[in-house]
Structures are given as C-alpha cells and as structure tokens.
Symmetry: C2
Subunit: 415 residues, 2 copies
C-alpha cells in the first residue's frame, strides 16, 4: 500500500494538448508522437489530449448545416465528436509504432461527465481512475478533447476550442499544477500578427487578461479553459508544437512583476449587429428575447438600448451583437417573437476590437485614449462595452486593420 | 401492465440496414430519411442500422496503413468506427428535419457486446432495453452498424460488411422474423453483372448458398450475418435503396419449391497464393503456421500440401491462399517463422471462382462439368476446394472473366 502511494507521488504527470494543426496531417502526428516519447524518456508521464485534425470539424459542421442549418442536438454533437475520435486513434497508432504503450480514450471511456447543453456543454466531473491506472503502468493515455458524455450516456461537445478545456480540467482532476497547450503559433501575441504587423510575443499573461482575450475573439485559448485554470491555479503553457522553446505562460497576476496598462489588442472579425426598432419599452420584452436566445445557446455579446425617436411611444430601440454563425438561428427566432411593426436591420461584416490589460484597473484615462483613435480616423463605433480590464467597440470590418494598428501603437505594444 | 404488453405486440418492428452507397452523399441520406418516414407512416416501427458513407472506411484504413500497415488493435477499431458514427448522426439530423423523432445510437450506447478480437469481433449479446423503449415512444433508433464494445468498454469492429451482421443480430435480439438490407443493387445476382453480362437476379437464395457466396467473395452480404439469420431463421430481404420493388429473399431451404443444381457463379478478385517449399514434413509445422496466422486474424482460405520433389527428404510443399489485404502481415510473419532454406513464392493477381448451389447435394457430376470448362480453355487451376454445395478454384485474374462466363452458361444461369 505504501509502495503504491510512493509510486503515485513519483509520477510526473504532464497533460499535453495538441490542437488541430499539430495533428493536421500524418507527418505532424508522427512528429507529435516522437516529441511525446522524448518527453517520456526525460521522466515525464505524459497524458495527451487531442483535437480533431485541422479542417475536420469544419467539414463535419458543413455536412450538418447542409442537411439542416437549424438543427442542434445529440446527433450534431455525436457528428462533431467523431473528429477527435479519428485523431486519438491515429496518434495512438503512431505512438505504438514507436514502441510506446498507449491507450486511446473517448469521453465515455474516461468518464468526462458534462451537462446536457449540446454544442456548448460544460464539464461537471472527470473520473481519473482509468487514466491514473494507465499512467501507473507507463501506458500513455490519449484522450479525445472537446467531447463529454451526459449522465444518460449521450455524447456532448464543449464548443469550438473545447479541447483546451478538456486538457485543463483533466490537469485539475489529476491535481497537476501546469498544463501544456500546443498550437501552431509559438506564443500568445499582443495582437494577431496577420492583422497587426508589429505584434509581439507575450512572455506572460494573467488569467484575467486571457479570459477577456478569449471572450472577445482571440482563438488562442478557450475561455472556459482559462476560467478553470484560474479557479484551480493551473499554469497554462501555450507553445508551438513545431518548436522547442518556451511560449507564453498564462498564470495568476500575483506571479508577475509588473503589468502594462494594456497588454493586448484583440479582435473578432465575425460579428453581426442586429438593430430592432421599435420594440416594447421596459424590461419584460428584453428578458423574454434574451431568454429565448439563451435557450438556443446563442451568446449575445454587446447590448445597447435607447428610447425611440418618437418620445410619446412606449417603445425603445435595441441593438445587440452576435457571432456570425448564430445568425440563421437568431433570425428564425426573431421572426417568431417580433410583431410586424418592428423593423429588423442586420449589419453584417462587422468586427469587434478590444484592448485588454490588468493594469487598466489602476490607470485612468484608457477609455479616452481608446476613443481618440476612432475619432481621429472618423471610424464609426456601433456598439461599445467595457469591463474592469477591457474596452471593446464594434466597427466595420473594412476599418478593423487601421484601428487595430493604431491602438497597438497608442498603447506602446509595437515591437 | 397488460396495456404495455399489448402495445409491445402492436409494434411492427422492422430492422432496416442501409449500406455505404445508400448513405454515400447527403442527398442519398435525405432519400433514406424520406423512405423510412414513409414506411413509418404505413405502420412500421423502423429500427435503422447504417454503415459508413461509401469510401469513408477505405479512407480511414488508408490513414491507419500510412502510419503503420501492421498495426491492428483498439485504436484501429476506434478509427474505423468513426465512419458509422458520422452516418448515424447525419441520418438522425435528416429524420428530425422531416419532423420525425429519432435517436442516434453507437454500440456502447445500445449495448452491442462483442468479444475483444479487434477488426473481426463477434457479437455476444445485444441489450434491447433502450431500443425497445425508444420504439414504444415512436422514436426511430438509428444504430451504428459494424461496431461493438467489449466488456471493458473498448470499441471493436466486426470486419468489412459487419453492418449486415449488426442488423441481423438486432433483428434476432428484437425477436423479429425478417430484416431488410438496402444496398445499391436491386437483388442478389447469379454472378457479378460487371463480370458476367448474362447474370440474372435471383428471387430467392438459401441461407446455405448465401453463406458460401459470402465466404468466397460475394460482397452482397456479410457471412456472419447469414450465419446468424440461419440460426434464428430470420429472412433477409436484400434490396435496392433506390427502387421500391422486391429484391432477393434469403431464407431457409424448406421454404423453396425447387433448387437449381447451381444457383450462382461467384468470384473473389483479390486473392494471393503463397507457395512454400520446402517446409518440414508432418502436421506440427502446419499447426504452428496456421495458428500464428490465425492469431493475426488472417483467414487462410484454400490449403494444399504435397510431398517435396526429393523423396528422401522429410519435407513437403505447401500452397495456400489469403486475401490480398493480409499479404503484408503474412509476409512479416513468414519471415519470423521460416528458416532460410524455405523458398517463399508469392503469386499475386489471382482470383477465386466458385459455383454454388444446394441442388449439388443431389446431383453428381458437377465437378466434372466444372473442370471441363477449365480444360477446354487451357486455364491453369492453382488451388481447388470443395464443399457439399460449392466448388472453388484459384486462377489467374486475367482469365477470370472468360471462365466465369463459361461456367455461367454451362450451368444454365444465363438470362
């Protein structure tokens, strides 16, 4: 018994998540296998989490949408989960071919329990019995990311990028203190380098900043993953699967020496703004509308509301933004809810631009500097939202690049 | 309680299996959904079994083989099983889009238990609780064919064509008397029409004949499916998913009025003959060799053995045939087992041609008529095997067509 305990303590478990591009082709899967075995030979006990091969989830989504763009439910999640299944199987084969012992594991085999909110399920618990037992036997567990299973054994998925969440939740369940997230970029950047040429790599980012970045459209890490990491104080090491050097550490603010006022300029290029005018005044209508949207798992991002032009009418104007992918479902729902007199205006080709930084909490005047950039360039701001450490604005997609570069310079982020 | 019993009796459960070509594209999946709902509106309670979309299993096999052509195990089966998962999900979406209620079900969700012989697993039991409960609620169960799950929750597959077996086993478990197998051909033919232009549709085939046809390479029905159908006396209706008329009924011999001497000419175009000379005389070597091949799940088909040319030596010659796909594994194994003095000759591009008919049991002289065809055409026969109701010969693939047509004519099968 004591010997068993000692063995458990001896194991240096490191959860390593490989994203879609890291397993996007067979030669990349071979590279991942080689790397994992090297890490094992250096004394780590790797626990692998994989996403679907890049492009595969999009292909599956297209198949489902071609059949029925409105359908979301058990079959949709089962469909998408097949992508991770393929990647898990192939990586296991590549590991075993190299003489390692590996075990392919789907969510129902591990026991990754979620709620039943299909397409956007949340992990409730992970049973570590099987994984711990495999690690004890020096068998590398290769776990499907992104998927879970409900109490009554239906397959769920965690939303795009959900494999990050699987990896962090697994680290927490295994009582680890750090988790490696491998992607096709070497680090988290101060802005998307494809948009802002002078973007630079960040050595560290706080959980808070990373959550804001994830929630405003940065594709680097899944929001929920960072939320869980913050809760259990798990450091996330976001790094490249193609290089060997360190990437960006996402960690608690108290671990950092100093924080810039703004650490990143982040954007989401797929935003749609919906304007409704007139709708009934008062909170009842809003409560109903947003409850109905929430039922469909549509995340309403920024909401602004104002009195109608005609002061006598008991009506209001309502503007809100949603992700472009949720537009068909939203339009369908609005048709059901709205009366004929309400004009629905859909503004496509919008983008959201945000500045984020924990230093903002102690530095006034960030908002003034932010809006100055728009004013100087005559860029219309359609919606605005702020938090303690973030300011976001929705602008026309055509003006995104200009504004992003200017903000990046304004907040001293350029290389 | 009585009412429940009555309801159960009322349900007219029909298991319908749709093969890869029937679900090979989205519009075909839509057609299947329309057909299933029509059948439901006519009073049937459909239980659907689906294969992977055509081409998908081959694509997955290629991925695995590109990584490691020798690997067979849990990850391989998990990989292949993803194909059926996709088809199940898409058909469910297509059914629900049409207003039907449908439930997507994988093997572990249904409880299709198999042994742990990966790639060639055999079904041990099916738990019908979930399916029966869905049928009671008028929800159409859409079940993944081809896959099963071991006692310790690992995914297995039943071998190529295994979805037929899922469908027949499910029919047996649900105590049905007939099962519909939908394919891209309207019926079982007296020969492959692509090979023999004068091939004709068969109205009925006995279980025995169908088993022989399946075992010698006819791709119409999976051998194990027919075996289970025979055991539980389940009629199989093999028919086209593109037409509405009856196809071929596979059933017990006693249901038939009359049986032709030969009912079909069947072929397998992917045979390899392996010649070993010399190998040690006696049964010990043979027992070891074929046990080792069996361990690898390689099905050795025809075996012939003869003394070596040198009468003093305690050696023998050995010829046997295997499916082309098992050649890499077989060669690897032979390298391990054989000593240097044994010459291994691999004859590729071979084909097996067979005549099958339950009437053969009561009609002597079939073998003589069979070999006459080869002799008249100077076609070399490399291996021969016979059963009560079948004679098979291995010939060069280049001579297959000529021989098949001649045999079809000889045994009065031409249209």
């Amino acid at each position: 018994m004591l010997e068993e305990m000692a063995m458990q303590v001896d194991k240096n478990i490191v959860v390593k998540k490989f994203g879609g591009t890291s397993v996007g082709a067979l030669e990349r899967i071979e590279n991942v296998a080689t790397r994992v075995i090297r890490d094992q030979s250096r004394g780590e006990s790797p626990v692998i989490v994989v996403s679907a091969m890049s492009g595969e989830t999009n292909r599956l989504v297209r198949l489902a949408n071609d059949l029925d763009p409105y359908y979301r439910g058990a079959a949709y999640d089962m469909l998408l989960a097949s992508g991770e299944q393929v990647a898990v199987a192939l990586l296991t084969i590549a590991l075993e071919k190299r003489g390692a012992k590996a075990a392919p594991l789907l969510a129902h085999q591990v026991g990754i329990q979620t709620d039943a909110l299909f397409s956007k399920a949340r992990i409730r618990s992970i049973d570590t019995t099987k994984i711990s037992s495999l690690v004890e036997q020096n068998i590398i567990p290769v776990v499907a990311g992104f998927q879970g299973v409900t109490e009554d054994d239906q397959i769920t998925t965690l939303g795009r990028g959900g494999s990050d969440t699987t990896a962090v939740a697994l680290t927490a369940a295994l009582k680890g203190s750090a988790c490696e997230i491998y992607t096709d970029v070497p680090a988290v950047y101060s802005a998307d380098p494809r948009l802002v040429a002078k973007a630079r790599e960040l050595k560290t980012v706080t959980f808070e900043e990373m959550m804001e970045m994830a929630s405003v459209g940065s594709k680097v890490l899944h929001f929920r993953a960072v939320e869980i990491a913050a809760k259990y104080n798990i450091k996330i090491h976001s790094r490249s699967s193609f290089e060997d050097r360190d990437g960006t550490w996402v960690m608690a603010e108290e671990n950092m020496l100093e924080n810039p006022v703004v650490s990143s300029v982040t954007h989401d290029p797929s935003t749609v703004v919906i304007q409704l005018n007139p709708v009934p005044a008062g909170a009842a209508f809003l409560a109903n509308l947003f409850a109905r949207l929430a039922e469909k798992n549509i995340v309403v991002d920024i909401i602004t509301q104002s009195a109608s032009d005609s002061p006598s009418a008991h009506t209001q104007r309502l503007h809100f933004s949603i992700p472009e992918e949720d537009l068909p479902q939203t339009q369908k729902l609005l048709q059901e809810i709205l009366k004929n007199e309400t004009e629905v205006k859909v503004m496509r080709d919008m983008a959201k631009i945000s500045v984020i930084g924990v230093g903002m909490k102690n530095h006034p005047g960030v908002a003034a500097r932010f809006f100055k950039i728009f004013k100087e360039r005559n860029v219309d701001v359609h919606l605005v939202t702020t938090s303690d450490i973030k300011i976001s604005a929705v602008v026309a997609k055509s003006q995104l690049k200009e504004v992003a570069e200017a903000l990046h310079t304004e907040f001293d982020l350029d290389v």
